[in-house]
């Protein structure tokens, strides 16, 4: 038995015919051609399938697609020219790249929610994801550089004329 459902993904209404038992990961990859979320452990451990639901990271392998109705979903395909993407490139924060979309989305949510994130908060968030190529140090540096840049930009007056 299949049902049609509409999901709000990257600002678009996407319709898919799914089984109620399909996970969000299944639907993103198999029905909507959004293959940025990766299938890793499918057990909630690795985080390669991470997407954002209403701005919060979730592991799409352990969320039913039907449970995502009404939530604003962001996948890696929904980020364009994001500073976090640039930082990952600049800091060489990946090797094979399999974990990268999950890490970037998790880190994006972190800097949105905690612009003043301490190292401890950053560690807590990043430990939801596994990088088999062990790029952890570079990933930390990438996230820190975005946090730093963001703080610098917030501290600066936006326009001199506005004084």
């Amino acid at each position: 038995m299949n049902d049609e459902l509409t999901l709000d993904i990257n600002g678009e209404q996407r319709v898919a015919t799914v089984r109620m038992a399909d996970t969000l990961l299944d639907v993103l990859r198999e029905k909507l051609d959004l293959t940025g979320a990766k299938r890793g452990c499918e057990n909630g451990d690795c985080g390669s399938c991470t997407v954002l639901a209403d701005g919060l990271p979730v592991k799409s392998c352990m969320m039913l697609a039907v449970d995502a109705i009404g939530k604003k979903l962001t996948t890696i395909e929904g980020l364009h020219d994001d500073p976090m993407q640039h930082a990952f490139i600049e800091k060489w924060a990946f090797q094979c790249g399999y974990c990268t979309s999950g890490f970037i989305l998790n880190a994006r949510a972190l800097v949105n929610q905690y612009p003043d994130a301490t190292d401890e908060i950053m560690e807590e968030w990043l430990s939801s994801n596994i990088c088999r190529c062990t790029s952890y140090q570079e990933i930390r540096e990438a996230v820190k550089s975005v946090l730093k840049e963001q703080r610098f930009n917030v501290g600066r007056p936006r326009s001199r004329n506005k004084r």
Binding site: M1, R19, M20, A21, D22, T23, D26, E42, N43, G44, G47, T50, A53, L56, P57, V58, K59, C61, M62, M63, L64, V66, D67, N106, E123, E124, W125, S127, S128, N129
Partner: protein
């Protein structure tokens, strides 16, 4: 991908949920309640859970309650562990929730799901055992309030068709001193080697543990030994360890001997912290 399909229902009231369960059960659909859905998706994939119908309790207002009034803390079973922690409504519970899984998983795992879990740790129950909480349970014959000590014995003992709506805790527990420590094998994120939570009420200490035996528990016998003053802390701990209520687990995370070794040290930290000695 789950190897089986099911029907999905999202009732908006308690009555609707329990009536749905009854009907689906009669139709042979083997219904189960769903909350965060993380266990159903992960164990379902391994054929360790099977159903033809799930009833999602997240749309039920009572399952989303979060309140402190008339000196009672009420937490709906559908709240995620992140929400319970961020609400700061009951630090004793919040600090237990924030040690479960990892940050992203806690955005999905719910309080009710953890308490009803098939996985043996069910760490969120520790503070609820220590604070003599009340579980609000709904079934076809109505809503019942039951002491945690009656309904949680090793695991959540729900009758067929019942589900957990809320937990209630006396407001006095919001400010009592407690100590919680989760020891893992080596990783930052893992199931516990052992998790102990202790609570100080007046001059006595309450103790609950997960990961030591095949189920989480509060032990009055161990508490009695720990509360015998007039002997050294180490002697009190030695006597308490003799009262562990069931065989100690030996598995990939640690042998039983190692778990007891870690327990002793962690209990020492707890006593030093709560009694302010040394």
């Amino acid at each position: 991908m789950l190897p089986f399909n099911f029907e999905y229902y999202r009732p908006s009231s308690i009555n609707e949920a329990v009536e749905l369960f009854e009907k689906l059960d009669q139709d042979g659909k083997k219904p189960i309640y769903l909350s965060g859905g993380t266990e159903i998706t992960t164990l379902g994939r391994l054929n360790q859970i099977f159903t033809k119908a799930v009833i999602d309790v997240k749309g039920i207002p009572e399952c989303n309650a979060l309140d402190f009034k008339q000196n009672s803390v009420v937490v709906g079973a559908a709240h995620t562990l992140t929400q319970v922690w961020e609400s700061k409504i009951l630090p004793l519970l919040g600090e237990a929730c924030v040690k479960i899984g990892d940050r992203t998983s806690r955005n999905q795992i719910t309080l009710g799901g953890n308490l009803a879990s098939q996985i043996i740790y069910r760490e969120a129950v520790l503070p609820l055992l220590l604070s003599n909480s009340t579980f609000v349970v709904a079934g076809i014959d109505g809503i019942h309030q039951i002491s945690v000590h009656k309904i949680f014995k090793e695991k959540l003992l729900l009758k067929r068709g019942e589900f957990l709506v809320q937990i209630k805790v006396n407001g006095k527990y919001r400010n009592k001193p407690f100590f919680i420590e989760k020891k893992r094998k080596s990783e930052r994120v893992d199931y516990p080697l052992i998790t102990i939570e202790t609570l100080k009420i007046d001059r006595s200490i309450r103790l609950a543990i997960s990961g030591l035996c095949a189920f989480p528990f509060r032990s009055y016998e161990m508490e009695k030994e720990l509360n015998k003053t007039g002997i050294s802390l180490e002697e009190r701990i030695d006597k308490a360890v003799l009262r562990i209520p069931a065989p100690v687990i030996s598995d990939i995370r640690g042998t039983s001997e190692y778990r007891i070794f870690v327990l002793r040290n962690t209990l020492l930290d707890a006593l030093i912290d709560l009694e302010g000695v040394r």
